[in-house]
């Protein structure tokens, strides 16, 4: 016989704020977890060294007379123009440091969720797959932007302060947009790059190796193919080379490799599309029957 049950609980009567950014809790947790790693804090701090070097260059460029003996004729390197910024942003040391920060801080973003089977906890909540991916991407965006866009814009401000005039900005009014554009490009590409590799393994240590391995291997492959085929188009196989090509274009500079920059944009875009497809397939609840 059916029993009559009295509803003995009542739902919360407070107002639920509609989350405009349902992915934010994921981002917040991702950033918090990254900063819990001691070595990450150390590496993250170290990743600002190129920015400080660049800042020192800006300062010295305005005080060339004071540093004459120190510079010994290399003051032509301190000609502050978009090329100076392009060199800062596309130099291999900065790119490597950013990849290092992401490998240590964000390598486990998806791998740890796979390892801990946490996806089922996320997806049994008011959260879509796109929210999940956006949340994870935002962690990477946070680190990349803080290492590129933020110092880039601050450097422009310091240039104006050191020069004591707005002449530089009036001369290159598009430079802040170049900084933001390049930072956005790096963010999107590296977000897909790191997330793709993070989704390929449950072990975040393997993911760290994968992130470095793929980055370095692409450059090695470029070197090998270049020596065999002797064509600059082989640079399209190299991750850093493609980023440098795109960066040079965005800063209005001649690309370092004799290949139209549009090809590098196409390669980076194709990689992002491919990553999105793979991520779409990998990010799903744990299969029960193997």
């Amino acid at each position: 016989m059916a029993t009559v049950r009295e509803k003995g609980y009542s739902h919360w009567d407070g107002r639920l704020s509609e989350r405009r950014f349902p992915w934010w809790p994921i981002t917040r947790t991702g950033i918090q977890l990254a900063f819990r790693k001691k070595r990450f804090k150390f590496i993250f701090a170290g990743a600002f060294i190129p920015s400080f070097v660049c800042l020192a260059g800006l300062y010295i460029s305005e005080r060339l007379e004071d540093f004459k003996t120190f510079l010994r004729g290399s003051d032509r390197l301190l000609n502050i123009n978009p090329k100076y910024f392009a060199t800062f942003f596309t130099n291999e040391a900065l790119l490597f440091l950013i990849v290092l920060v992401l490998a240590i801080g964000a390598g486990g973003l998806i791998a740890d969720d796979l390892k801990h089977s946490s996806l089922q906890l996320y997806f049994s909540r008011p959260l879509r797959k796109t929210d999940y991916l956006l949340g994870k991407m935002s962690v990477i965006a946070f680190f990349v932007l803080i290492l590129t866009a933020v110092p880039g814009l601050i450097l422009i401000v310091f240039k104006l302060i050191f020069a004591g005039s707005f002449k530089f900005l009036l001369q290159y009014p598009w430079l802040p947009l170049s900084v933001l554009g390049y930072a956005a490009l790096l963010t999107v590409f590296l977000a897909f790059y790191v997330m793709l590799l993070s989704a390929l393994s449950k072990n975040s240590r393997y993911v760290v190796i994968l992130i470095f391995g793929a980055y370095i291997f692409s450059n090695v492959l470029y070197g090998i193919l270049q020596s065999i085929f002797r064509t600059p188009y082989m640079a399209l196989f190299s991750i850093p080379a493609n980023l440098q090509q795109a960066g040079a274009f965005l800063f209005g500079q001649t690309p370092p490799h004799n290949v139209p920059a549009i090809w590098s944009f196409a390669v980076l875009a194709a990689f992002c599309v491919l990553s999105a497809v793979v991520l779409g397939r990998k990010i799903r609840s744990v299969e029960v029957i193997k």
Partner: protein
């Protein structure tokens, strides 16, 4: 009573492996046990209810709303997965508050809810410890806490008692029963029969992706006509009693228990037998000590249905 959870022609394949095969059922308020051996399709069914997987065929609805690709419905559902799903480097408190943020509560509300849930599962004292240091029982309880923290009307518990010590099991069973008494719906899966029996008599038997039976245990038992009911009668004179029933056409078989005082009768017409038993006992003046139905339990029903 209206169905809280309804599945209609639900099927799910994993490549060539059939996880769930044309399942149609309705689950009402109260506790329902989802019972089946490992690999039967229990977790698949739960993942389909909680919208984590897309059905290959069919639909699942919760309170009439489809769950697939409809995250809003999960405000009403609390899910406690079978596996450990923790970031070990978080404390219990951080784990709970982090998950509560997805529901859009204000900060103070998140704190209150986390406190309340931790209090319910007796983890308030350990809330600031890293989950890494939690015992198996504590991990199960924090998993349960995350499922109830947002005050859902429907609880889906996948093997919630596995790995718990007897005391932990008793605590969790009490909590689940409290939820039921509040008029909520609880779907709990297990492959351990006594665990389900301790929680509810209303079960869904699942095997090889198919629903074998659904309903109260005695009701399902009634439906199994291939297997006669066993009735055990312990008395001072079991042989006299047996002699009275020898010619009864409703009785299939009679045996005596090892203690020499128990008559075990197998019959398809249990009610008829009980009707005659009363008369016989009174006529012959036999003193009956105990009447039981040894196969009127979940273990027997399960074994009959899965053919073990």
């Amino acid at each position: 009573m209206t169905a809280v959870i309804a599945a209609s022609n639900l099927s799910k394949w994993y490549g060539n492996v059939l996880g769930l095969n044309d399942v149609s059922l309705e689950i009402e308020a109260g506790i329902t046990g989802l019972l089946g051996p490992n690999g039967a399709g229990k977790s698949t069914f739960m993942k389909l209810i909680t919208g984590q997987m897309k059905p290959a065929i069919g639909t699942v609805t919760v309170r009439g709303i489809k769950t697939w690709n409809n995250p809003g419905v999960f405000r009403e559902i609390g899910f406690c997965p079978e596996q450990d799903v923790f970031y070990d480097e978080l404390t219990g408190w951080q784990f709970l508050t982090g998950l509560l943020r997805f529901y859009g509560y204000a900060k103070s509300e998140i704190r209150d809810r986390a406190d309340r849930a931790l209090d319910i599962v007796d983890l308030s004292k350990d809330k600031d410890r890293l989950i890494r240091g939690y015992s198996r029982g504590m991990r199960q309880r924090i998993k349960f806490a995350q499922a109830i923290a947002h005050d859902p009307g429907i609880l889906i518990l996948d093997e919630p008692l596995s790995g718990l010590d007897p005391l932990g099991k008793r605590k969790l069973i009490r909590l689940v029963k409290e939820f039921k008494s509040q008029g909520r719906t609880v779907l709990v899966s297990s492959h351990v029969l006594p665990e389900i029996e301790a929680l509810t008599s209303r079960i869904v038997l699942i095997h090889q992706g198919k629903i074998l039976a659904q309903g109260d245990i005695p009701f399902i038992r009634e439906l199994i006509e291939a297997h006669p009911h066993q009735i055990s009668v312990r008395s001072s004179e079991p042989r006299t009693l047996a002699a009275r029933f020898v010619g009864d056409p409703s009785i299939q078989k009679m045996t005596f228990g090892p203690d020499g005082r128990t008559l075990i009768v197998e019959t398809h017409k249990r009610d008829d037998f009980f009707g005659r038993l009363t008369g016989v006992v009174l006529e012959a003046g036999i003193e009956v000590e105990e009447i039981t139905s040894p196969d009127d339990n979940l273990q027997a029903v399960f074994e009959y249905l899965v053919g073990k």
